[in-house]
Amino acid sequence: MKKSALIFGYNEYARQIASQIASEYERVHIFVLDDALRQKAQEDGFHVSSFDLSDEWHEIERDYRTDNTVAFCTLEDDAHNIFLTISLRATFSAMYIVALAKDTEGINKLKIAGANRILPIVQITANLISEILEKPVVTNVLHNILYEDSEIKIAQINVVPGDAIVGNNSHGIAFKDTYNIILLAIVDKMLNTNFVFTAKGFNHRIEVGDVLVVIGLQEDIDKFKMHIRDSV
């Protein structure tokens, strides 16, 4: 988990991001372009500083370990947002940069500017809308798993040395029957691939460094984790 989050800009998107991620980071720091926004963010209870686009980011360099920091670029104006992204990337090569994009044109430019992750606003909204219309049950279940306080959780389990499952084939473990969890995907660190979805049918040999993505009740996930660690 990254330690600090820096949010650039203060609009409704930034406010929502700041409120939602507060529990995930030790520090959330908001940077704004003008005093009116600074005051508004302070009133909402956030730690705020001012910046301008020609900044050399000394304050950030001084106060944060940038390899352990996430920057959210949420400026209203696309051009400013892209400029901010490129300027942060020019200074901090290790920083994880997340940028909001209003349209597809912006996505490509932000990629080139060096953003690690882009949140395309229109695309995210459109995907949700079409999913609500076409797959209401899927939407409801996945939405609850991801964002709401549902009994069913999604979890990622990093396979570490000594885990009981190291060296086993994924087909050989009865995730569903024994542990009452569903193994959704595996990220193979060695192969540096994106995902190996279980539903594709590959029989994957689990190695140290892999990440298992599982879905299940929280207690079942905990039991599974305990089992693979304790049974060694």
């Binding site: 049950v137 994106n194 879905i215």
Partner: protein
């Protein structure tokens, strides 16, 4: 009241109150007159085929001896079909029972005795109005070949060709364009007629007595002048005198003028009316759609939603006030109409049946006022249709709910939640994101247990999902109980339950097909 009059009034009330009678009459009305009725096009095709076969038989008869069956088919079968059609059209043209009832109630009110004769006259008057319309006259003449003993009446078969006007929309549109410029075309026709008449008389005067002249009768003079003014100029008749040649020069110049004027009138009529024609055609198409999503406001979000839904094979109709956005939607091959989503008139123009045709209405403007207004307008017409709306400003959420919106989508909150999720568990988030975006081959799908599947399969084990490498994530029960995660093989499945599965696209399709086709594996 006299017994006949009483019988007439009673029959009128019976017919007027009979649902069955109304249903039958509406069916025939829709079949023959309602362009948005799904089955009208089949009726039209059959009639066009009959007309064409009738003309083909006529052409064949010119050189070959007529075949008995073809003759019978042409003289009796086709004519009887046309006669029945003519009578049906006359029947559905108006409601006689209504005329009788109105007349009767009017007489009762004035305390006069009901006069069946007056009611008859009124009915005849209305029916005559129908019979004297050009299309009805054509229909009547088209039946004439029925009286095949009268050889002359066989020529009336050509009226059957005119009947084509009824069944082909493009010819109707052409006529409507020309009617629009009726005045200009009539003026031009009058001008042409005067030129033909004057030059016909002049050429006759100049040429008729000349020894070498080819134009010797008044008929030839008019024939020559018509052929010349139309710029056809066969060359079979040529003026020989100087006077005649001067007349020819005059008529040639007039001919060019008439031709260019008439072309420009028709072209301008088409340009002026083309948008209307295209829009009418589009509205007809929309009325004929079985199911579609109605999008109010073709914003960037709407564009992406529409593209995604179209990939799923869904029909989309866009209603937008902004002409440029409507053009953009049209360029994306989407049926789009210019209209205010907040005005009842827009929906009246489209002739949408919300209950039957609309899956859901999506209010996707980047403005809460417009979305609330559109939602309220739709709710005032239909209480049930699903309404989804974007929310731009959090403070307006309650207003959208009050306006009857079923699903509110608030982008800002959504982006916040996404940011949280990938901050906490980036890998898990990416996995779910990949599943939802449908960019990889693996996806999540809903499978509804219909009556057939419900009857064949009793429990989860019977489904054998694992054979298809499909992960059955859970069941959403039909009775509204909570989502059943990772159901065991003994768990029952019933009609109306929805299975949530994860698997590769191809295998999910195969699984669905087999559920519908195969019997339960014992």
């Amino acid at each position: 009241m006299k017994p006949f009059a009483r019988f007439m009034v009673k029959s009128a009330y019976v017919l007027n109150g009979s649902h069955r009678y109304k249903k039958v009459k509406t069916f025939f009305y829709n079949l023959m007159e309602n362009n948005s009725y799904r089955y009208k096009k089949y009726f039209d095709v059959v009639m066009v085929m009959l007309i064409l076969s009738s003309v083909i038989i006529l052409i064949r008869e010119v050189k070959y001896e007529s075949h008995d069956f073809l003759q019978f088919f042409n003289d009796y079968i086709i004519s009887i079909v046309f006669l029945v059609e003519y009578l049906l059209r006359m029947w559905v043209y108006n409601d006689n029972s209504k005329i009788i009832i109105e007349r009767y109630e009017h007489d009762e009110f004035l305390q006069r005795e009901f006069s069946p004769l007056k009611a008859f006259k009124e009915i005849l008057h209305v029916k005559f109005q129908y019979m004297s319309s050009p299309s009805a006259i054509i229909d009547l003449f088209a039946i004439m070949p029925f009286f095949h003993e009268l050889r002359l009446l066989r020529l009336f078969i050509l009226f059957r060709v005119f009947k084509l006007f009824r069944y082909t929309n493009s010819i109707r549109h052409l006529l409507s364009v020309l009617t629009h410029k009726k005045h200009e075309l009539l003026t031009l026709l009058m001008f042409a007629a005067i030129v033909v008449f004057v030059s016909g008389v002049l050429i006759y005067v100049m040429e008729a007595n000349h020894p070498n002249s080819q134009i010797t009768t008044l008929f030839e003079a008019f024939y020559w002048s018509l052929v010349t003014i139309s710029t056809v100029g066969f060359g079979d008749l040529v003026p020989k005198t100087e006077g005649g040649q001067v007349v020819a020069m005059f008529i040639i110049i007039s001919g060019i003028a008439v031709l260019s004027f008439s072309t420009s009138i028709i072209v301008s009529a088409f340009t002026e009316r083309m948008d209307d024609i295209v829009e009418n055609k589009l509205i007809e198409n929309i009325s004929a759609l079985r199911k579609f999503y109605l999008i109010c406001g073709y914003t960037k979000t709407a564009q992406q939603v529409a593209a995604k839904l179209r990939r799923h094979g869904k029909n989309i109709v866009v209603l937008d006030n902004n002409v440029d956005r409507v053009k953009l939607a049209t360029s994306h091959h989407i049926r789009a109409v210019v209209g205010d989503p907040g005005a009842l008139a827009s929906y009246a123009k489209l002739g949408i049946d919300f209950k039957k045709q609309v899956h859901a209405v999506l209010c996707l403007e980047y403005d809460d006022v417009s979305n609330v207004y559109a939602a309220l307008t739709i709710r005032s017409m239909n209480k049930e249709v699903m309404l989804l709306s974007l929310l731009i400003n959090q403070s307006n959420r309650k207003k959208l709910s009050l306006a009857g919106v079923n699903e509110v989508v608030y982008s800002q909150e959504l982006v916040g939640m996404v940011a949280k999720e990938f901050s906490g568990m980036p890998v898990a988030f990416e996995a779910i994101h990949a599943l939802r975006s449908e960019q990889s081959d693996v996806l999540t799908e809903e499978i509804v247990i219909d009556e057939y599947i419900g009857a064949q399969y009793r429990n989860v084990g019977d489904l054998c999902a694992e054979r298809y490498r499909i992960i059955l994530m859970g069941i959403s029960p039909a009775n509204g109980d909570a989502f059943l995660f990772n159901p065991k093989s003994h768990e029952p499945v019933g009609t109306g339950d929805i299975l949530l599965v994860i698997g590769s696209n191809v295998l999910i399709k195969e699984f669905k097909r087999d559920l519908h086709v195969k019997k339960r594996r014992s």
